[in-house]
């Protein structure tokens, strides 16, 4: 590949990407303000909560001082933010451990589940989306449309309960709880994760396939596609070699948005299958009103979401042919 072209691409793309990163950081900062502000609305504070109603005023005041709860809100916000950035998001009052330790135990599990689900859902969704777009308004497309349209509206717990009924109650193939012993073999891990992955994938695939279809159909109406078809190139080839590279920006965008849905969907799925991930940890934090833990979890999910959007934007910028030719 020609060196100058690559350098030109970088020169035009880098400022754009830098802008996106800056805007993402700003959004993240604003999100942290919102999360912190909402947590402040909780009546009473952590010290009171921890010691209970019977605590003496002195004991509460002492604990407040220990956690810095007696400081004004802006100061606490800055401290919390600095703590989040430097990897010390506070102390979980319910688990009686540092929040970072609690999260460190759960985060790899969540990432594994999300990565495996993405690995399953992306190829399937691409295939469905491309097939659908190529057979636009034919019977196959209409069938797939109704199917994906219904799938996006399914509650996760219906998919999960049906999966349990079929695969572990009727067929007895898979365990209904995703507990992984520490020394499990990869095969055992896959077996216990199969149903959570299946449930998450069903919902994400539908969403992704619909957006892929839309992106490709938008390209199919372009003059260059008609030209290629008139030249006698086979439709499948036109889609794979001409349309797909042009649609890559919107498709990656669709993937990122759908994968970010894995974050929200995981909340229900992890709970149903008793999977020790970050999302079920967050649900526990809500139930026990463990605000430091809850705030940290919320920030991790928001960061992950913004990161996905940033990746999608970057790919879209790099894949933009107008930018490439400049």
């Amino acid at each position: 590949m020609a060196g100058p072209a690559t350098r030109g691409l970088l020169a035009t793309a880098l400022p754009l990407i830098g802008k996106r990163i800056a805007s993402g950081m700003l959004t993240l900062l604003l999100v942290s303000l919102v999360v912190f502000f909402i947590a402040q609305l909780l009546p009473g504070d952590a010290a009171q909560e921890m010691l209970g109603q019977a605590a003496t005023a002195d004991a509460v005041a002492a604990l407040r001082e220990k956690f810095g709860l007696d400081r004004p809100a802006p100061e606490r916000y800055v401290r919390w933010l600095v703590g989040m950035v430097t990897g010390d998001p506070g102390y979980s009052l319910v688990a009686n451990m540092a929040v970072s330790d609690v999260i460190a135990a759960r985060l790899p599990n969540s990432l594994l589940l999300a990565a495996l689900s993405a690995l399953v859902s992306v190829p399937v969704a691409l295939t469905i989306g491309i097939l659908s777009a190529m057979h636009r308004d034919a019977r196959l497309d209409r069938g797939l449309n109704v199917a994906t349209l219904s799938m996006v509206a399914l509650p996760e717990f219906l998919v999960a309960t049906l999966a349990v009924l079929v695969f572990s109650v009727q067929l007895r193939w898979l365990p209904s709880i995703a507990l992984i012993p520490p020394d499990a073999s990869p095969w055992l891990i896959l077996r216990s994760l199969a149903m959570p992955i299946l449930t998450l994938s069903v919902i994400v695939i539908a969403q992704m396939a619909r957006m892929t279809r839309a992106a490709i159909i938008q390209q199919l109406s372009q003059p260059y596609v008609e030209m290629a078809l008139l030249k006698g190139i086979k439709p499948a080839r036109v889609v794979l070699t001409h349309v797909l590279p042009n649609a890559i920006g919107p498709i990656v965008n669709a993937m990122a948005l759908s994968l970010s849905y894995l974050l929200g969907g995981a909340i229900i799925v992890e709970t149903i299958f008793n999977y020790p991930g970050l999302a079920s940890l967050m649900v526990n934090a809500v139930t026990s009103r463990d605000m430091p833990l809850l705030q940290a979890c919320a920030m991790i999910f928001c960061t992950a979401y913004l990161l996905l959007v940033l990746i999608a934007d970057t790919v879209a910028i790099l894949a933009n042919p107008r930018l490439r030719n400049r």
Partner: protein
Amino acid sequence: MTNAIRSWVKALSGSGLIGLALVVFWLLIAIIGPFLAPYDPGAFVAHDVFASFTGAHLLGSDYLGRDVLSRLLSGARYSVGLALAAALLASTAGIALALLTAVSPRWLDEGVSRFMDTLISIPSKIFSLVLVAVVGSSLPLLLLVASITYMPGSFRIARSLAVNLAQMDYVQVARCRGEGAAYIAIREILPNMIHPMLADFGLRFVFIVLLLSGLSFLGLGVQPPDADLGSLVRENISGLGEAAPAILMPAIAIATLTVGVNLLIDALPGRGRRMAGKE
């Protein structure tokens, strides 16, 4: 009027008709369901728990021996009613704010838009979990949490419509006539964004049904003795191993409601088609 409705129904596709039928069915159930219930939803009427379909209990019995059909009929009222109210609140607030920003000075528009973009970049389930942790989950607060969670999305769509409409010739004419900002927003812009916003309202409704039933399923939504469809799934989760109708039926009920609305919106002409989807 009836003719207009008839021709509108005729224009729907097959899947659109199915959607319409499901939506009408669930709206009816939400209104008259509790009167159709064969038993008191709170009464222990069956001899065994997690019974299957029988003549006396059409949808079986739940984990305490209560009649599943009766509980489902009263649960549907919570699911449909709460979500309808929350979606209405979210859409109305979103449209009102969008109209306000469309006719207000630039700094206000940018400030509000930036704030809404921030809220949108918090995944909706995460946002509502944080809210529920703080305010709790009584029925009015759940309604508020759901509408706050989905209002920014509605604002974003309403704003992009309103900003485009504000550039139209007839709005410029009204401005030259010397009409006030309120007149322009309500009489000139609002009527032209009602149709797309109705489709958006349907989508918000689907999201909110899924959100509220999800929260109830986690035990963070509607609290006992009240129960929506999500709570019914949660309380009967131990019947999963026996494939009890008590757990399947409420889950299927939610699915038919949300799928129905989605199919109907997709069949609407124009904008609705492109927007159907999740979040």
